[in-house]
Amino acid sequence: MEPVKVDEIIDKYPAQSSVLIQLLLDIQGEFSWIPREAIQCVSERLNIPLSQIYRVASFYKAMSLTPRGRHVVNVCLGTACHVRGATRIIDKVEDSLGIKTGETTEDMQFTLQRVNCLGCCALGPVMLVDKDYHGKMTPAKVAAVLKDYD
């Protein structure tokens, strides 16, 4: 992590506590996670207690406190996807990446997460890789989809 980049992001906003969420989202966007050092920088610059920032960062799913892989794989386990066998999709992804849900592969390529609805139930079971939606998934299609991102 480069502290200069964190400072740049902080400089974009007025130094007041109300910008906290936007600031954390920008840091998340820059590093794809929120390092502890970044929280310490923000705390010193904006004069917000560390615990307060950690509270916000740990609450929102959009922010991650652990390093994430280059590609984030979200498998939908909402009701519609679930009844169409989404659990088999996520099992297959876990198998082929060799990680459990919520973990990141050792080569930092993929992070696997489950979500509870992606809002496109007609396409179920749905898998979201970065910003691409892959609908009507089957366990057999998983390997081919993941290969595109390697």
Partner: protein
């Protein structure tokens, strides 16, 4: 700033503008149980133990943070209120470790006292318990988060009385817990021995470290006949 007249349990009482239902009730000898409320701290209405029934209100309201208004009609111990309170305590007990017999708080535990007062026995829910390691590296403070009931008294006391803001809540749902700084074990760097949080903790999630030879000080818990 005039007097406000209202009715608590069918008896007319008066209170000042700006008082809460709880304050007026206590002034008039009506006992409403509380857990997260302390008069030194700002009320947040987190525990829902102090709920009362207010005529015209669809839901039960938390009395510790609801200001009184003219002509309020309040029931503090109606069946609906008591049922709700029992459920609140039962849920708190459900993921509290059930080792009261060997617990340091024993008879001083506010949760246990409230549970006894409200006649709540063993919880009927079989919930997961929280298992957290006991944090005892600080010479001033021992933290056992398994016993924490998330009343947020320590958070507010640290903020409002000690002016430190060491504690805060973090994570969500079942994983919600009180953290220190960046979710690190409490050590002597982050927290000195002001003891404010220890004195407000209703259970013994926060306590002073035991010193050798001090175990038997104080009055015995069970008096012999």
């Amino acid at each position: 700033m005039g007097d406000i007249t209202l009715t608590i349990n069918d008896a007319p009482v008066t209170g000042q503008d700006g008082m809460t239902i709880l304050e007026v009730a206590r002034e008039n000898g009506v006992d409403i149980p509380t857990m997260c409320y302390l008069k030194e701290l700002s009320p947040i209405g987190a525990c829902r133990l102090c709920v009362v029934e207010v005529e015209g209100s669809r839901n039960l309201v938390g009395s510790c943070h609801t200001p009184i208004t003219e002509g309020m009609v309040i029931q503090t111990h109606s069946p609906r209120v008591v049922t709700a309170r029992r459920m609140v305590v039962e849920l708190m007990m459900a993921n509290h470790p059930d080792n009261c017999l060997v617990c340091d708080a024993a008879n001083q535990c506010e949760l246990r006292q409230v549970a006894a007062d409200l006649d709540v026995g063993l919880p009927s829910f079989k919930l997961k318990k929280h298992y957290y390691p006991i944090e005892d590296i600080s010479p001033y403070l021992v933290r056992d988060l398994g016993k924490c009931i998330l009343c947020q008294r320590c958070i507010r006391a640290c903020d409002e009385i000690a002016k430190q803001k060491v504690f805060n809540l973090a994570y969500r749902g079942f994983d919600c817990k009180v953290i220190v700084d960046l979710d690190q074990p409490v050590d002597k760097e982050v927290c000195r021995d002001c003891d404010v949080c220890v004195s407000v903790c209703p259970t013994v999630a926060l306590r002073k470290p035991k010193k050798q030879g001090e175990e038997k000080k104080g009055p015995p818990l069970i008096l012999s006949q």
